[in-house]
Structures are given as structure tokens and as C-alpha cells.
């Protein structure tokens, strides 16, 4: 895979964004965050490691004693690609019972092709299988199927991109809430360039629902990072691993 920027610049920015998210969640101190940024800048091995990651992508490389890392290429809804750093388990997917995640989103071809691709890459290495929502809530049997799907899932993920005047995802969020399912609710807030404007084709999610992790994002790159950085804690908080 061709890197969009100098590999070490991408990798440094990615790892710093991981530590920044931990700083903002209160897990590391300001001093620890800045020490990490300095350590990354001064690490002589960082540039060659970054190059190896891109040259071997999507194959993983092994850091001594700390498990494999790999660079994968994920997708924006417009079809453009972005690189993503992923830490893997040593033995592949866990031996314990696999979890099922019910996924609800707007059925537009570009969203399907990018969101599903991204989620499979982000979740399946950690033993989480995906189950997709049905296509049309107007059919009664499909509605029943969706309720069954949510009921049998261990967790749910909903993306509201492109859902203005299309309430299906919000109905699914309500069902999941009523059933007490742990939820990741992804709320599109407009691109960075057009942030001041109201996004014309996307609604909003109630902020007072309990038991959900709400992720407000501006691009799928932004969403994937937030989702990935918060995944271990989300699973632990809901006793899912």
C-alpha cells in the first residue's frame, strides 16, 4: 500500500492521537502525554518501523514481546482510502465465545461498502462477528427479524450517516435501548470543512439514553479511530470480555 504521507509522520500522528484520547478520558496525565510525544519524536527506531509497517501492509510485523501490528487500508463513504494502525492478538481471534454485534445504518451503497468493510476489519480480529440490519422496516416480518437480531446480539452499533427523514436507525436504537443492549451510537457531525453548516441529510441522536457510547465524528477515519481507541474499555464496562 502506498502511504499518503511519510510513513513515520502518519504513524506518529496516529499514535499521538491514541494517547490524546487516553489523556482526554482521564487515564494518563498531561505530563505523561507530553513525555510520550517527546519519546516518539526522539525514538530512532520509529522511522524504520514505520517503513516496515507500510512495506509489509497488510501483513503484520512483530514487536518483540508486545504482539503484532499491521497497517490496513480503510474506506471513506466517497470511496477514498486511509491507512489505519491495528494491534493484533498473538494467537489470532480469542478462543472464548465469540460476540455478535448487530449493526444498523442507512442502506446506501457507498455507506454499506465503506462502513461494513471498516467494521469487519476493526472488530472481527477481537472475536466480534457482525450481523447486519434488514433492509426495510416497513415489512412486518423484517421488523420482527430486526427485533430478533437485536435481542440475540451481545452489543449493537448504529451509524446515523444519511438518516434524515429515514427513521429506521433511530427505531433500532430505541429497540436496543428497551432491550438493555450495550450500544455504540455513531453520530455524523459534518465534515471538517463544512462543520458550521447543518448537515442536510443526517438527523441527531438523543443524548440522554443510558448505556451507550456516543461517538460524534466528521469522517470515517475519525470514527474508526474513536471507535477503536475506546473499544477495550467499552467491552470491559459492559462485561463483554
Amino acid at each position: 500500500m502506498l502511504p499518503p504521507v511519510e510513513p513515520s509522520v502518519f504513524l506518529q500522528e496516529f499514535v499521538v492521537s491514541f494517547f490524546e484520547s487516553r489523556l482526554l478520558s482521564g487515564f494518563i496525565s498531561v505530563d505523561e502525554y507530553h513525555d510520550t510525544v517527546v519519546a516518539l519524536r526522539r525514538n530512532d527506531a520509529f522511522a524504520p518501523t514505520s517503513r516496515r509497517l507500510f512495506e509489509n501492509s497488510p501483513e503484520a510485523i512483530h514487536l518483540d514481546g508486545y504482539g503484532p501490528l499491521r497497517i490496513i487500508e480503510l474506506r471513506e463513504p466517497d470511496g477514498s482510502r486511509f491507512p489505519f494502525l491495528q494491534g493484533l492478538t498473538k494467537l489470532g481471534p480469542p478462543d472464548r465465545r465469540r460476540l455478535t454485534c448487530f449493526v444498523g445504518h442507512r442502506f446506501l451503497k457507498n455507506i454499506e461498502q465503506s462502513l461494513r468493510f471498516n467494521l469487519v476489519h476493526l472488530l472481527s480480529p477481537y472475536g466480534i462477528d457482525l450481523r447486519w440490519s434488514g433492509y426495510d422496516l416497513s415489512a412486518r416480518d423484517v421488523f420482527d427479524e430486526i427485533v430478533r437480531g437485536i435481542k440475540s446480539a451481545d452489543l449493537c452499533l448504529f451509524d446515523n450517516l444519511g438518516t434524515l427523514n429515514r427513521p429506521n436507525v433511530y427505531i433500532e436504537i430505541g429497540i436496543a435501548h428497551a432491550l438493555g443492549k450495550p450500544m455504540l451510537v455513531c453520530e455524523y457531525g459534518g465534515s471538517a470543512a463544512g462543520r458550521r453548516k447543518k448537515v442536510p441529510d443526517t438527523g441527531s441522536v438523543p443524548s440522554d439514553l443510558q448505556g451507550l457510547l456516543r461517538i460524534q465524528y466528521r469522517s470515517y477515519q475519525d470514527l474508526c479511530r474513536q471507535l477503536y481507541f475506546n473499544l477495550p474499555l467499552f467491552l470491559a464496562r459492559n462485561e463483554l470480555h
Binding site: R22, L63, Y66, L69, Q86, T89, P125, L233, A236, R237
Partner: protein, 57 residues
Amino acid sequence: MKTKIDSTKPKTTSTSRKGQSQQVVRDAAWKAEKKWFEENMSLDPLALFAKYYQRLG
């Protein structure tokens, strides 16, 4: 005779008990996460990142 309800008594419905136990789990998960970072911040940042996701295995 009407029975007065003591509003100072805490609710002990199954829903509130469930909510309390979920809060206990959430607090414990947060503390465990903080402790994990305290124990691993001396690692090289990239090694820490790799180790963080190994926990999911």
C-alpha cells in the same frame, strides 16, 4: 387508614439494583483501565499500543 410512603427510603426495585450493579461494573472497568496505564506508561509508546490491543486476545 392511609399508609404514608417514606420518600427518604432508597428505592430497592430490581431496576434500580440492576442500575447500581452496572455502575459498579463501569467504575471498576474505569479503575482497571487507569491502573493498566499506570503500570505500562514506562513502555515505548508503540509497544504500549501493541500491548493494549493484545488484551483483547
